[in-house]
């Protein structure tokens, strides 16, 4: 059995909502904007506590990003919220010019990222958002793994000055990180110590990586699992320390392999310590409708796939 257990499953977007609720009471500079998706973003408590600090933009995401940039000029800390597809890809140029290039303290906080959005299908299942956002100079990119971490990350990004993309999701997933764990932007968290292979995972695939480590343990393989909640800036020191010991690795993410976390790790290691790496992610395809777990199985984003890739990575040492 894993050293990690959980009592409940919750959605990471509810962690965001809880973080915003906390901020509504503790940080008068935090304001929220939403493009007609209050319920999906779990913003009701924030709006109830401080209605004057909430801005409904209607289904107009481009305008929302601009207004957020304006609010930040006036000294506020805006959280612009919607689904990940509409909050990144749809408004890329608005984020690029009015937020990133302008150096504005805007938090783009998006739910329903990745395949686990489920039945709505590929129009809504963005798998390119990490790539889009990490390419923007100065943009911080965070993809927390469970309810507690999403809440902590939400509070942490409010206290950080600069543009941030905070990505979370719709399905309920195990709550296994400690409620009081401090969230340090850019500081990876080692979950399981191991010596044979390193798994670097982000978001929903962190729990799957813990399960993969269990599968591998039965085969006598000692797996190191590291939660890379911050894709940018990447904790290169933690990565280097781990692979120096394990000499091979797997990256795991609910995202395109192109442009994702694995990409960032490979780019870093290719210039410092080239080692066998395998990638768990969506391989250059769009998603489709279906139950979240069925989709994750079909596209190979689960513990079994991660374990298989780990064995392959080990075999290439």
């Amino acid at each position: 059995m894993s050293i990690y257990t959980y009592e409940t499953k919750k959605d990471t977007r509810s962690g965001f909502g809880a973080g915003m609720e906390f901020l509504s009471l503790t940080n008068p500079k935090v304001v929220a904007l939403c493009a007609d998706l209050i319920g999906s973003l779990k913003l009701e408590p924030f709006i109830k506590n401080c209605p004057e600090r909430f801005f409904q933009t209607g289904i107009a995401e481009a305008n929302m990003i601009g207004i957020a940039a304006g609010l930040s000029i006036g000294g506020y800390i805006p959280f612009a919220t919607t689904f990940a597809n509409f909050g990144t890809g749809r408004v890329y140029d608005q984020i690029r010019q009015s937020v990133a290039y302008s150096g504005k303290n805007v938090k783009i906080a998006c739910s329903h990222a990745g395949l686990t959005l489920g039945e709505d299908g590929a129009t809504h299942q963005i798998l390119e958002d990490i790539g889009l956002m990490k390419m923007l100079p100065g943009m911080v990119v965070i993809n927390p793994c469970d309810y507690n971490q999403t809440k902590a990350a939400t509070i942490a990004v409010a206290n950080f000055t600069g543009p941030v993309y905070l990505r979370f999701g719709r399905p309920v997933v195990p709550v296994f990180t400690p409620e009081d764990q401090e969230f340090i932007i850019g500081k990876a968290i080692k979950l399981i110590e191991g010596s044979d292979v390193s798994i670097f995972a982000t978001g929903h695939l962190v729990w799957e990586s813990i399960l993969a480590a269990d599968i591998l343990k039965e085969k006598g393989i000692h797996t190191e699992v590291i939660n890379i909640h911050t894709i940018k800036p990447l904790d290169t020191q933690a990565i280097l320390e781990s692979v120096r010991k394990t000499r091979c690795l797997v990256s795991a993410e609910e995202h395109q392999i192109n442009g994702g976390l694995g990409d960032s790790i490979a780019q870093f290691l290719s210039t410092t310590m080239p080692l066998p790496q395998e990638f768990v992610g969506v391989n250059d395809s769009f998603g489709e409708s279906g139950k979240p777990t069925d989709l994750m199985d079909k596209y190979g984003l689960n513990a079994v796939s991660i374990a298989e890739k780990a064995l392959k990575s080990i075999s290439r040492k």
Partner: protein
């Protein structure tokens, strides 16, 4: 301020614009010349700007709290904004000579990225400035700051969808500390706006969205002064204000007027001389 004083500043700003675009052989003189009177009228009279109490010089704060702020959405007319900011004292006039050259704070399109005093947002990719201005106006309301937000857009820029998202939002949220302008010069890059993408009746459109709409001849300084006063008196009535400002592209230089030819073309040596001969050097060239 006397109209004549403003016109005298405008003459120098027009000289700056021409010399800047000539100096780097690129940039957008047409729209810059057309909007010169507005920007001079705003910065040298209408706007309430923060001054250093010891020497009465303007001081720049990113937040713009407690002072009026201006946003240029059609960022390609950066020469006029740079000249007016420099002439107002935000940065040294000499720096205008670096426009569009390497290692300059005066990028082709305005940006706060190089920390140029007076610039609060990047613009250039069109259609974004009105949204930003609305956000700043709402921040002012949250801060109980009664100062005014100004925003200038182009008429070609009205083609952008985001403009209409913002147009819908501002009256809905009663953003009544905002005065926006459209530079109606009737031209865009590929030709007359009527031919490329007809804006039809901008007054009817904005009124339908809930704006109070005014008209002005943007190249008549006295009329502009009156219009800006009237607009300010209309603030605080739960409606944003849109001023449809008719201008002539290239205003002030006879051979640059009446065509979109000078939208994004710099004058050569001879053309510069001919143009400068029509504008008196009132404040000293940089």
């Amino acid at each position: 301020m006397q109209t004549q004083e403003l016109l005298s500043i405008a003459s120098q700003v027009r000289r700056d614009i021409l010399r800047m675009v000539h100096g780097c052989q690129s940039g957008h003189p047409g729209g810059s010349l057309g909007c010169t009177d507005l920007l001079v009228g705003l910065y040298f009279e209408a706007m309430n700007l923060k001054l250093n109490s010891s020497n009465d010089q303007v001081v720049f704060n990113m937040s713009g709290l407690g002072e009026d702020v201006f946003f240029l959405s059609n960022g390609h007319i950066s020469p006029v904004l740079y000249s007016v900011l420099a002439r107002k004292g935000y940065f040294p006039v000499k720096e205008l000579s670096t426009f569009r050259k390497i290692n300059s704070r005066l990028q082709g399109h305005p940006t706060p990225h190089e920390h140029l005093e007076g610039i609060r947002i990047a613009s250039g990719s069109l259609g974004q400035g009105l949204s930003v201005a609305i956000g700043v106006a709402q921040a002012k309301k949250l801060n109980n700051d009664s100062s005014v937000v100004y925003c200038l857009m182009g008429d070609g820029e009205q083609n952008e969808g985001q403009v209409w998202e913002a147009a819908m939002y501002a009256p809905h949220h009663k953003v009544d500390n905002l005065i926006a302008f459209i530079d109606v010069n009737g031209q865009q890059i590929d030709g007359p706006t009527e031919k490329i993408m007809n804006n039809r009746d901008l007054q009817m459109k904005y009124e339908a969205f809930g704006w109070k709409v005014l008209h002005v001849n943007g190249n008549d300084m006295a009329e502009l002064q009156l219009c800006l006063k009237e607009a300010k008196n209309l603030l605080g009535n739960e409606t944003p204000i849109m001023i449809l400002m008719k201008t002539e592209m290239g205003a002030g230089v006879d051979f640059m007027m009446g065509s979109h030819k000078w939208h994004g073309v710099a004058p050569n040596d001879q053309q510069l001389e001919e143009a400068l001969n029509q504008l008196s050097e009132t404040l000293g060239d940089y």
